[in-house]
């Protein structure tokens, strides 16, 4: 935009006028409830403004403030049952109830809570830094006397006048007063708000549009009354009192915080909403927090452990109570050495029940080692590291756009390994959303020789890929690319048209009009690169850009747009040279999903008024004039052909208007535009429809919606992995089916169950007067179609034929009714592939919810656009494609990837690994805590259940934090059952996650049993080996401290070596952590034993003096270690050899070196749990069978 001021008053001719709009509809609400805001513009310091005391512009996105951090984050921590329990234990440990010293109990809790809080603090500090940066940005604010000063954003007040310059962000929600343009318009980029990259036009009120100088604000005073802060981005109601006059304000004057001023030198605006009152802040809701299935099951296991804990304590206190009561038998002391005659309530035989109850509390504290205190914090650390791996994976890094994969939430990593159903958007997800102009039909002739991906795929599908032709084709493409650098969005090859040859075609006049329409009828904005002089376009949608580019390449270069005109360099067919033409732009009737077309009205240099219109075939053909249907038949035929080839088609038509007709339209249209009532849209539509008729058909365009790189391969892999893929698209059925074929979701010979409302009978129904009856009838029809589909399904369950379900939006609306949806789901789940077309964003979300809740399986939604947000948030996992369509989907996703094909690696490799790691990590956690906790319990049985722990206090408390925590974290971060290559080679491995093989209750209890077994062996072997007799050569016997240290050594060895046995991937890090954990135990034992006996108490010199010199200590450790691990080792050897799990089979293959033996690999692949029904592999196998 060159930016010069035009003399012509824009408002007179442009569609939106701001003149004397009347106060209609909602504006009457102003001043009432919900519309109470009053802004004294340019006078924020005044008394009246002070009364309202609106928020400052300081924005805080942090979770905590300095003051609330401690209480709030502590509260968050202790909301977890396990943490709360440990807090209670810590408090109780200060009472005489405690079996151990208070400090030793508090330290691990402090470490764990401190680590989690530290993590919170770091995260919050990052947000804080962003806030500080944001709040300290500068903007020019009117201070007094027409002088503007740079002021920090946070110091802005409601009512301030600000001046925002080009490419700056708006610091708050502003009302536009004036701009560098005469017409007081400005362009705004709202990428941060809704992800749309196109520029939006805003315009100030006429009354303020003349304030072009800083000095004009010296005495400017006005009063604005408007609605209260709310989250609705697209509505705004207010009025401005300027002098005696009142003017209505609409969203057209509202500039939202976080959007950017573009193509405009500066604007003046008045601040109306600040800080947290701004629409964008009101919109920023916390995304729904998602928890993985594994985490939910983990909670259940924790509860189970609590149950065991209570049970153990209960048993213990009963025995303790009995033993205590018997200590005093009719006044005669039995265990006199305990002085039962002179005791406290804790051991009083006369009050044995009370003693038992109190002992119960003691036992609860003593056995607290059953509950893994560090589990949650370990899981969090592991997940953060796993996310880093995902973010850093070079195989998911998209070099072209410099976009790595991003795990936006880390708590769903393992859920990635359990996905059962993928619900995918089509446009921008499966396809690139880069449109290529590939074919057109003009005057009944089809031009364009390009072959689409879909056509190629279809040729392949028909089994007749003429290889020679293909090679030629490719050669041709290469040739072409050599000739000139390929132009993005343009893949049109036809020598009849290109290079200006079209003038020689028989209907050159039509082609001329056709191309001119392409160059004029759009809302794109040209940007001229000053160096090369090349024109690039910024358009609302990529197909629009494709049109303008096509027009440019074919000789109609659109190079300038002002508010009132469009300028082209066009090829004059008569003169045969390029001339500049200027078209006066009168109206743009924009595209809307209900209208399905857009039009522009221009006046050409000859003064003729033209209405240029393009739109969907369904709406365009009925609007043609009787004499404008010359090419209708051929064009329709071509459109069907194009749609078959997976192309998007639009019909182009035009009409000449006479002056009268135009002035009539202008009046009505302006009136409709100016109305502020709620039915404004309909009014505009009505007026537009009156004019958009009697059109003359020019032809049709076909744009290819290109499949993204590697999509068919990726879908094939996912299908082999047994993941169901549903496509939910807003496109029409034909396009959706074509894309389905292109990416092998559909294939020939697959029975297609089509549920559509486009059947003839339904059409008849829709014409019925009675809407309710029509709806009921349509619903009945959908129900019938579903039942028919189910019959097919039952029929085909015997035959290997796969079914595909295709349903359109209207039918889907009925299918999602409460009484139908179960049947629908049953049918859909039975089908190999499901395609929902013409579905609205809400329907996408509803389908997702239906699958998620009814089947209970993990769903993953993947999409790129704002229309997928609902679906992404509803699904268990939302994956956003950080593609072209802005950031909206990414912002509401859990994972963001740049290309659909990375989903393969994200799920099959990272998903599988994370699932495996987290589940084995949690199992192992339970194992090690049960193994430890049960030795304590067994010991109690030998200590009269008195609550005396077998180990030194610090041994107890450091068990979870030091000696066993690092290896388990290493397991969670690094373990790989099979390498990435094999994960991808044997996609079926993924089913281990879907069927939850590694975290089934059986497996969890298996590990728990292993823990109990280990504890039993450790305890009984230790005490049997150390009972009575002298422990060393010097005749000394083993007391409590030696038995404790020995048993503890055994536990540390056993749990660490158990870890070494159960992992299948040793890097230095595992070695370091596992063996380091053991070595650290010995170092600790020596160090702790060397300090003053007052502190080390029973551990004083226990290792140096007693254990280390005694041969029996080492022999016992060795024996207990091996014999405790032998059962597990034998079990896993037998399982590995005779009942291998899928990943173990792959390990076999690898270790046998049979990976290169295709037959063998095939055999393993064939051991599928579920037959593959979609994807090209299935296609091949089908063909083989035939």
């Amino acid at each position: 935009m060159a930016g010069g001021r035009r003399k012509q008053r824009f408002s007179r001719i442009h569609a939106f006028s701001c003149g004397k709009a009347s106060f209609k509809g909602d504006h009457s609400l102003i001043g009432g409830p919900g519309f109470s805001r009053v802004i004294y513009c340019n006078d924020p310091e005044s008394f009246e403004a002070g009364v309202h005391n609106y928020d400052s512009n300081y924005v805080r996105t942090t979770k905590y403030t300095l003051a609330t951090f401690f209480p709030k984050s502590l509260f968050e921590q202790f909301r977890r049952v396990a943490n709360f329990y440990f807090l209670i234990c810590a408090i109780l440990s200060f009472t005489p109830l405690s079996p151990y010293t208070a400090v030793s109990n508090v330290v691990p809790l402090v470490v764990v809570i401190g680590a989690t809080m530290g993590k919170e603090l770091i995260e919050d500090w990052r947000r804080k830094r962003q806030d500080i940066e944001m709040n300290n940005r500068k903007v020019k604010v009117h201070s007094a006397d027409g002088v503007f000063h740079h002021t920090k954003w946070m110091d802005l007040k409601v009512g301030d006048i600000v001046k925002v310059e080009k490419d700056e962000f708006f610091p708050a929600d502003l009302i536009l007063l004036s701009s560098s343009y005469e017409e007081a318009v400005c362009y705004v980029e709202t990428m941060n708000l809704d992800g749309e990259t196109n520029l939006k036009l805003k315009q100030a009120l006429d009354a303020t549009s003349n304030l072009h100088e800083d000095s004009s604000f010296r005495d400017f005073r006005t009063l604005i009354r408007c609605e209260d802060p709310n989250a609705n981005l697209y509505s705004f109601i207010g009025n401005m009192e300027l002098g005696e006059q009142q003017y209505p304000l609409s969203p057209q004057q509202l500039l939202l915080r976080d959007s950017k001023l573009r193509n405009t030198d500066y604007i003046y605006g008045v601040v109306i909403f600040t800080g947290h009152d701004t629409k964008v802040m009101q919109n920023s809701m916390a995304p729904p927090s998602k928890r993985s299935k594994i985490e939910r099951r983990t909670d259940k296991i924790i509860y189970f452990l609590f149950f065991i804990l209570v049970l153990m304590s209960f048993i213990g206190s009963i025995f303790f109570g009995i033993a205590t009561r018997e200590d005093l038998d009719n006044g005669r002391m039995k265990r006199w050495y305990l002085r039962p005659d002179n005791t406290t309530v804790y051991y009083d035989p006369k009050r044995a029940p009370a003693a038992a109850v109190l002992h119960f509390l003691t036992a609860l504290m003593l056995y607290s080692y059953l509950i893994p205190i560090s589990l949650y914090v370990s899981i969090e650390i592991v997940k953060v590291l796993q996310s880093i791996f995902i973010n850093q994976d070079l195989n998911m890094y998209y070099e072209e756009a410099d976009k790595p994969a991003r795990a936006r939430t880390s708590n769903l990593n393992e859920e990635l390994g359990q996905v059962d159903t993928i619900l995918s958007d089509k446009t921008g997800t499966l396809t690139c959303n880069s449109m290529e102009f590939i074919k057109c039909s003009v005057a009944g002739t089809s031009y364009g020789r390009g072959v689409t991906e879909v056509e190629r795929a279809m040729a392949k599908r028909k089994g007749s890929p003429l290889p020679q032709e293909e090679i030629e084709e490719e050669a041709h493409v290469e040739e072409q690319t050599e000739q000139k650098p390929s132009i993005k969005g343009f893949n049109f090859v036809d020598e009849r048209i290109t290079n200006g040859h079209w003038v020689n075609e028989p209907r050159a006049d039509v082609i001329h009009k056709f191309l001119r329409l392409l160059a004029i009828c759009h809302t794109a904005i040209p940007e001229i690169d000053e160096e090369s002089g090349r024109v690039t376009y910024e358009a609302e949608s990529p197909d629009e850009a494709a049109f303008v580019i096509a027009a440019r390449e074919l000789g109609f270069e659109f190079y300038e747009r002002t508010q009132t005109s469009i300028s082209l360099h066009e090829l004059d067919p008569v003169a045969g040279r390029t001339v500049k033409r200027n078209y006066q732009l009168l109206h743009i009737i924009e595209f809307s999903s209900s209208r399905k077309r857009m039009s522009v009205i221009v006046r050409n240099e000859e003064g003729k008024l033209l209405l240029l219109c393009k739109g969907a075939d369904s709406v365009m053909f009925e609007r043609l004039a009787k004499d404008g249907r010359e090419f209708e038949e051929q064009t329709k035929e071509h459109i069907n052909e194009y749609a078959d080839a997976g192309l998007r088609t639009l019909v182009l038509a035009y009409r000449e208007l006479d002056e009268e007709e135009y002035s009539e339209f202008n009046r009505e249209f302006t009136e409709a535009k100016n109305s502020v009532s709620s039915d404004r849209e309909e009014m505009i539509e009505e007026v537009a429809a009156k004019t958009e008729r009697d059109l003359i058909l020019l032809g049709a365009t076909a744009v290819e919606d290109k499949l993204q790189n590697g999509v068919p391969e990726c879908i094939d892999k996912l299908a082999q992995a047994g993941i169901k893929i549903w496509v939910l698209t807003g496109d029409k059925m034909e396009t959706a089916i074509n894309i389905g074929f292109a990416c092998s979701l559909l294939r020939q010979g697959m029975k297609q169950v089509t549920i559509s409302s486009e059947t003839p009978e339904n059409k008849a129904l829709q014409k019925m007067e009675d809407k309710d009856a029509a709806a009921a009838a349509s619903k009945a029809s959908v129900l019938r179609q579903i039942s028919e589909g189910k019959e097919l399904l039952t029929a085909s369950s015997e035959s290997p034929e796969a079914l595909a379900l295709i349903i359109d939006g209207n039918s889907l609306a009925y299918a999602l009714h409460d009484d139908v949806k179960d049947k629908f789901l049953e049918l859909a789940v039975g089908c190999a592939s499901v395609i929902c077309c013409r579905s609205s964003p809400k329907q996408k979300a509803l389908v997702t919810r239906l699958v998620k809740t009814k089947t209970g399986n993990t769903t993953l939604a993947i999409g790129d656009g704002a229309n997928d947000v609902g679906m992404l948030q509803e699904a268990d996992i939302g994956v956003g494609i950080s593609g072209v369509e802005g950031m909206q989907a990414v912002m509401s996703s859990d994972f963001a990837i740049a290309q659909f094909r990375y989903l393969e690696r994200l799920l099959l490799v990272h998903g599988h690994w994370c699932y495996r790691r987290i589940s084995s990590m949690i199992c192992y956690f339970f194992y090690k805590n049960i193994a430890f906790g049960f030795t304590l319990f067994f010991y109690e049985a030998y200590a009269s259940f008195s609550g005396q722990p077998a180990y030194n206090d610090w041994f107890l408390s450091l068990y979870n934090v030091f000696f066993t925590s690092l290896p388990v974290i290493a397991l969670g971060v690094f373990d790989q059952d099979v390498s990435a290559r094999f994960c991808l080679k044997f996609p079926l491995l993924y089913q281990e996650g879907v069927q939850n093989v590694l975290f089934s209750w059986l497996r969890i209890f298996g590990w728990a049993f292993n823990g109990v077994l280990s504890a039993t062996l450790i305890f009984f072997f230790s005490i049997s080996a150390m009972e009575h007799q002298a422990f060393n050569k010097g005749g000394k016997v083993a007391g409590l401290e030696i038995l404790g240290a020995t048993m503890y050594t055994c536990v540390v060895w056993v749990v660490n070596c158990q870890m070494a046995l159960s992992i299948s991937y040793f890097t230095y890090i595992q070695h370091l952590f596992i063996w380091g954990g053991i070595v650290f135990w010995y170092i600790f034992l020596m160090a702790y034993g060397a300090i003053d006996p007052n502190i080390s108490t029973t551990a004083y010199k226990v290792f140096i003096e007693a254990c280390a010199p005694a041969a029996s200590y080492w022999l016992i450790t060795f024996f207990v270690l091996i014999s405790s691990l032998l059962p597990y080792f034998t079990y896993s050897a037998i399982q590995m050899r005779f009942f291998p799990l899928y990943h173990q089979m792959i390990q076999w293959i690898r270790s046998d070196g049979q990976t290169e033996d295709p037959e063998y690999c095939h055999m393993v692949r064939q051991r599928s749990l579920r037959p593959t029904t979609v994807g090209y592999t299935a296609r091949f196998s089908k063909r083989e069978r035939r």
Binding site: R332, K334, R335, W336, Y337, L338, R339, D341, T343, T344, Y347, F389, Q392, D393, W913, Y942, A943, S944, S946, Q976, S979, A980, R981, I1023, S1024, A1025, E1027, H1028, Q1029, A1030, N1032, K1033, G1035, V1037, A1038, G1039, L1040, G1044, S1064, Y1065, F1066, T1067, P1093, N1094, Y1100, K1101, E1105, A1111, L1115, F1119, I1122, L1126, S1132, A1133, R1137, F1138, Q1147, W1148, R1150, S1151
Partner: protein, 332 residues
């Protein structure tokens, strides 16, 4: 188990193709981030399983044999005397016998040496059903007082034996109060066997836990006398039977060292033990035993470890054979 560092080579070469030049650290970091660190990936192949089982067997059985041999080499004479030392008239009411201070408590036992016992020969007393590991009991001591004596006066942990008649007790607490006080004298032939009662406690206890200048004070002066008394003129650091007693046992059945006989005993020697049966185990039905034992490099006599080693070792061998059989019978 096979070490498979090379299988990741395809990944790692790709990783290296991105510009990483300087140094090993960066290479490591990138391998780390791409999760392609060189790693050992063990797989439990049948060969390994059988080999490991066999290896275990071949390591365990010899260890077991050696251990068992060491244990069998230890000679042990165990004599339970708590029941037999009660005079006939008190058989029905042993508790009143032990509580009656007027009844003489001496008792004579005759031990026969079956085999040659080489010095040093250790003397133990063994108590059964005695919960020295009861929490109340274990906690009822003051380590500070044991080390510092009367200078340290916070003895609340010693309740109910922390003071008597307003004066603190040294050593305080239930453990000290219930000190074992049976005594033994050994007659070999005609001469008394010298029993060395020095150096029976852990050195660290003697040096660092019990004060060299802390003398018993106000001990066993209460109305209820627990166990043995202490010579108030010998510092705690030298009262080794107290020190041994104060190291609480782990299990309710335990031995504690009493002393050492430092001369060899020949086979068929007869030893007469004159003992004072002072300690009350009758109230709670505990047993008292006198144990005379030699020691080996492994300690005292306990066949468990040796037998267990042999058992586990042979199980491993059997398992490996079974596994081998199954493996051969069911080829994959």
């Amino acid at each position: 188990m096979d070490v498979d560092g090379g299988s990741t080579s395809s990944d790692s070469t790709r990783v290296r193709s991105i510009p990483i030049r300087s140094g090993q650290c960066k290479a490591f970091l990138s391998q780390f981030k791409q999760q392609s660190l060189p790693a050992c990936k063990p797989v439990l192949t049948p060969a390994w399983v059988i080999a490991i089982h066999l290896l275990l067997g071949f390591v365990f059985i010899p260890i077991g044999l050696v251990t068992l041999h060491a244990s069998r080499g230890v000679l042990e004479i165990v004599d339970r005397y708590d029941a037999d030392c009660v005079p006939e008239e008190f058989k029905g009411n042993k508790v009143s016998y032990i509580k009656d201070t007027s009844v003489p408590k001496n008792c004579t036992r005759i031990l026969k040496v079956h085999k040659y016992m080489k010095a040093p020969i250790y003397i133990y007393y063994q108590l059964d059903n005695y919960y020295q590991n009861h929490r109340r009991y274990v906690k009822s001591r003051s380590d500070q007082q044991l080390l510092h004596g009367l200078k340290y006066n916070d003895t609340s942990s010693c309740k109910p034996e922390e003071s008597n008649n307003g004066l603190p007790i040294v050593p305080c607490g239930l453990i000290a109060w219930s000190l074992f006080n049976d005594t033994y004298t050994f007659i070999h032939g005609t001469a008394e066997l010298r029993v060395n009662r020095k150096n029976i406690a852990w050195k660290s206890d003697r040096d660092h836990k019990f004060g060299k200048h802390v003398y018993p004070f106000n001990f066993q002066n209460g109305t209820l006398i627990g166990g043995g008394k202490l010579d108030p003129n010998i510092p705690l650091g030298d009262q080794e039977d107290l020190i041994v007693w104060m190291r609480t046992s782990a299990l309710p059945s335990f031995r504690k060292i009493y002393g050492r006989i430092e001369e060899d005993l020949e086979a068929d020697d007869v030893i007469v033990v004159h003992l004072m049966n002072n300690y009350n185990t009758y109230s709670f039905g505990g047993k008292k035993k006198l144990v005379i034992s030699t020691s080996s490099w492994l300690g005292g006599r306990n066949d468990f470890l040796g037998v267990a080693y042999i058992f586990v070792g042979s199980s491993a061998v059997i398992l490996s054979l079974v596994f081998l059989l199954l493996h051969v019978k069911n080829p994959r």
